[in-house]
């Protein structure tokens, strides 16, 4: 906030009016809704003693929940990177009947309330559900296991990868592929050496967005997870549980760790992208 306030007077003059009121409102609203409440978290976390921190963060239940949230999210983001790229490829390259309908459906996880997705996935993958019934004889249990957590996280993260890769794939210059082919590359080589490097930055962006979303995901996960402490309990649920027990310190500590790891991850991806762009000279 201080940084913004200091920078206020330094702006290029313009004849268009309304800079003061609109920026003032923007900063006030941003501060009230976003920055001030987030500051409350920081203040609370800063007031937590070292003993409290070590006690909370050495609790196996907390560690397991954080591990599941980040590990599950990583697995789901990897699955989404592969299948999201496949879906984007098919949507961009292969015209088939109903393509536009399928394209529109990609955003369903954005639009469908997470609680609805959660109970729907549970109904599907429960031992007596349509899909659960098929998987049960194979010895695969999805609902009420960590696998169920990953399934829900795949659902929630899918559009991020497809939507970031799609436009880039669309813009890959056909001439590059023709050049590769004219130089003797087969189709797979062209894909791996020409197309994939071109879409890799966007794939990485989509991956990190899907990861960030899955780490914090709550609604679609808690129904299918079964929420067995130490096994299928995710970190956001543990925050809720701690809050219900009025353990504000515990809830704050877990939230702070989650935010810190998430922001670090996003920052690292951003820096990686910047570095890559610098390498490519533009």
């Amino acid at each position: 906030m201080a940084v913004l306030a200091l920078s206020l007077p330094r702006r290029a003059p313009s004849v268009i009016p309304g800079f003061g009121p609109t920026l003032g409102f923007t900063l006030a609203y941003l501060s009230l809704i976003v920055l001030l409440p987030l500051a409350a978290l920081v203040i609370k976390a800063a007031g937590t003693t070292l003993e409290q921190w070590t006690a909370i963060l050495s609790d196996p239940r907390v560690l397991s929940a954080l591990g599941l949230s980040f590990g599950g999210a990583l697995a789901a983001a990897l699955i989404n990177a592969v299948f999201g790229l496949l879906v984007a490829w098919v949507l961009v390259r292969y015209p088939f009947p109903g393509r536009r309908l399928v394209d529109a459906a990609i955003d369903l996880p954005f639009a469908l309330p997470t609680a609805v997705a959660g109970i729907a996935l549970t109904a599907l993958y429960a031992p007596n559900g349509w899909l659960g019934r098929l998987l049960e004889p194979l010895g695969v249990k999805v609902a009420f296991t960590p696998l169920g957590v990953v399934v829900a996280m795949v659902f929630i993260g899918l559009p991020f990868v497809v939507r970031t890769v799609e436009p880039v794939l669309h813009d890959v210059d056909l001439e590059l592929e023709e050049a590769a082919a004219s130089l003797g590359a087969d189709r797979l080589q062209t894909f791996l050496r020409v197309i994939l490097p071109a879409v890799l930055p966007s794939l990485l962006t989509g991956f990190s967005l899907a990861l960030a979303r899955a780490v914090g995901e709550y609604g679609s996960v808690i129904f299918i997870a079964g929420n067995l402490p130490g096994v299928s309990e995710i970190a956001p649920l543990l925050i809720v549980t701690k809050l219900e027990q009025y353990d504000y310190v515990g809830a704050t500590a877990i939230a702070t760790v989650m935010l810190a790891i998430s922001f670090t991850l996003l920052l690292a991806v951003n820096l990686l992208q910047k570095w890559r762009r610098a390498q490519m000279g533009g």
Partner: protein, 279 residues
């Protein structure tokens, strides 16, 4: 050069297409079908009965109220922020844009938690609120605040790139023709971004009505008072009233489908205008 040198063979094409469609059927279509199937598992009458409870109606009412407050707030914010960011040059602009997107990278549960830490009984402002007999947490204001937080970037994120792309010349032209700043905004800027605005409102509204995690933390789950539709779905589900839970869920699913349909229509008819925001 033969055309096949830059294309896959038909078996590869069809194989990949089928694999992609199978994946989408499994992860997108199946859950949607499951919602409707479960809602109507015991027939139409059971479905209607499930929707006619008082608690269901009050949850629908609260969901509409919350959206009716939070969406206009974020529209006002989105318009102000995009005007300031797109029509002027000032230092710290990219920081401001990053901060506006910040709520997207915060877990919904943490979005609720921060308001509890601020306004809850043990919170920073809790004692003062209690003294003045004001209730934010476990009450409607808390639900509205948490919803505003999670839907905060939607409108601004659509409008900023759009207004930046459209530049300042049309506003300058309006000013040279004698229009006031407000007239330039109202007659020139706003009509130019109307479809992008509608797009942002649509997404903002869908999230506002469907938000679960953040609202769950601040609501207190008081039936008939602080239950929104998604929270009501959870309660019914946890009480093993599956038809009831999926019946309410089916209403939310329809909202999602309508949102997707309108969104696709906007993208189709107003592609040029929305292109700036990357759709």
């Amino acid at each position: 050069m033969s055309a096949s040198s830059t294309r896959e063979t038909p078996p590869v094409r069809w194989g990949l297409t089928l694999l992609a469609l199978a994946f989408l059927a499994l992860f997108l279509v199946a859950p949607l079908v499951a919602v409707l199937a479960e809602a109507f598992a015991k027939g139409w009458d059971a479905y209607v009965r499930a929707l006619s409870g008082d608690d269901t109606w009050s949850s629908i009412r609260l969901t509409l109220i919350v959206a009716a407050i939070s969406v206009p707030l974020n529209v006002a914010f989105g318009l102000a922020a995009s005007w300031a960011v797109a029509k002027f040059d000032f230092s710290g602009k990219s920081l401001l844009v990053s901060l506006i997107e910040l709520p997207f990278s915060v877990s919904p549960v943490i979005s609720g938690l921060i308001y509890v830490l601020l306004f809850g009984l043990q919170g920073l402002l809790g004692p003062w609120l209690a003294e003045n007999d004001l209730k934010v947490i476990f009450a409607v204001p808390g639900i509205v605040l948490a919803t505003v937080f999670v839907t905060f970037p939607f409108v601004a994120r659509e409008l900023i790139p759009l207004m930046e792309e459209q530049g300042r010349e049309e506003e300058e032209a309006a000013l040279t023709l004698g229009a006031s700043g407000l007239a330039a905004f109202w007659l020139v800027t706003l009509p130019n971004v109307r479809w992008g605005l509608l797009y942002g409102v649509l997404l903002c509204n869908a999230r506002a009505m469907g938000e679960f995690g953040a609202v769950s933390v601040v609501s207190g789950h008081i039936r008939g008072l602080t239950n929104t539709m998604p929270l009501h779905v959870e309660i019914l589900y946890n009480e093993y009233d599956f038809v009831g839970a999926f019946a309410v869920a089916s209403l939310l699913a329809v909202l999602a489908l309508v949102t997707l349909a309108v969104k696709s229509a906007l993208e189709w008819w107003h592609r040029d205008e929305l292109a700036a925001a990357g759709h």
